[in-house]
């Protein structure tokens, strides 16, 4: 399992890196004409592309962060076994639920 978690964390990092750069680039571009909720939603609502962009980012973050926190919890606080994996699973699920909810909120056309 350690091997799989190691690979998953590296792969999720590789996925996140270009998405972070894309996110920052769009932020810089978007604020040129001022920043309003209307303008942001005008760009994102109904856009399959933005839904996929941020949806992918949320999935990668949920996996990456859960594995990282699992390691910290084990090494700093000695948590192990079911408690450790339960925490990691709950973190992953929580981040997925909150993140995908946020993505849906700005991309799904009301």
């Amino acid at each position: 399992m350690e091997m799989r978690l190691y690979l998953l964390q590296r792969i999720s990092a590789i996925v996140m890196a270009p998405l972070v750069l894309g996110h920052i680039a769009v932020m810089i571009y978007a604020v040129q004409d001022g920043l309003t909720a209307e303008e942001i939603l005008g760009r994102t609502q109904g856009s399959v592309l933005w839904a996929l962009f941020y949806g992918t980012f949320v999935v990668a973050v949920a996996i990456h962060a859960a594995i990282g926190l699992r390691t910290i919890l084990h090494e700093w606080f000695g948590v192990r076994g079911v408690a450790l994996n339960g925490f990691a699973g709950a973190t992953c699920f929580g981040l997925l639920a909150m993140g995908l909810n946020a993505v849906a909120a700005v991309t799904v056309t009301p």
């Binding site: 399992m1 350690e2 091997m3 799989r4 978690l5 190691y6 690979l7 590296r10 390691t71 084990h74 090494e75 700093w76």
Partner: protein
């Protein structure tokens, strides 16, 4: 500046259940090593002091201790180099159980060598000829870079990942594994890669590099561990 006649040396005394530092006033000599200091205390001040040494020339890896909080081979460490305001603190190696005073129990360190698949597995019999060793081969160069380990456990004592994760096999055992899978004469590549992929294996390393910084022989277990991570990841991605 003249050298003071003596120095203050704090030595850890105690056993597995705890202990305290005891101070000694030790005479200073030219070219004196930390092991000389420990030996003087045991021979001249307190014969009950326990410590471990053998070769005294940096080959056997027996005499490593914490000197002013840093793991060092005491037989090759000059007092002049480590003395701080004419004081020095000597303690048993970190990350290992203590037997008594300055003697750490090396069992977990060596057990992890075996856990990491560190036992050589020959592919030929004694009736076969000598296997040629070609130092120019890339694999052989990797093996050559790591085989001068003297098993002193300094890297293990320096490793913060071992402190945080006692299951971690540690730099020396993983360095041994890396030299084995790069040794054309060894036939246990898959067994070793399985061993270092298990819990506490190479993937637990955070690449902090204390091992490489403190290795008295100038080895780089960090590079060895990075090599193991690459080899195991390639193997896993190929579905094995």
């Amino acid at each position: 500046m003249s050298t003071p006649d003596s120095m203050q040396v704090s030595v850890w005394r105690g056993g597995p259940d705890g202990g305290r530092f005891q101070s000694f006033d030790v005479p200073r000599y030219e070219s004196q090593t930390v092991l000389d200091v420990v030996a003087w205390i045991q021979q001249e001040a307190d014969p009950t002091l326990s410590y471990r040494f053998a070769c005294r020339v940096g080959m056997c890896g027996s005499c490593a201790m914490m000197v002013n909080g840093v793991p060092r081979w005491t037989c090759r460490t000059h007092v002049q180099k480590v003395l701080d305001a004419n004081r020095m603190e000597i303690a048993p190696l970190r990350n290992l159980p203590i037997i008594k005073d300055l003697a750490a129990n090396m069992d977990p360190f060596f057990e992890k060598w075996v856990q990491a698949g560190g036992v050589f597995e020959g592919t030929e019999t004694r009736t076969d000829g000598y296997a040629p060793i070609v130092h120019e081969d890339a694999d052989r160069a990797n093996a050559d870079a790591g085989i001068e380990c003297i098993n002193c456990s300094i890297c293990y004592a320096a490793c913060d990942t071992v402190t945080g994760n006692p299951e971690f096999l540690g730099p020396a055992a993983l360095n041994r594994a890396w030299t084995l899978i790069n040794d054309a004469k060894d036939g246990s590549r898959d067994r070793v890669l399985d061993a270092v992929s298990s819990k506490g294996g190479c993937h637990a390393c955070h690449s902090m590099g204390n091992c490489q910084q403190y290795c008295p022989n100038g080895l780089n277990p960090l590079t060895a561990i990075a090599g193991l991570k690459r080899a195991t990841a390639r193997r896993a991605l190929r579905g094995r």
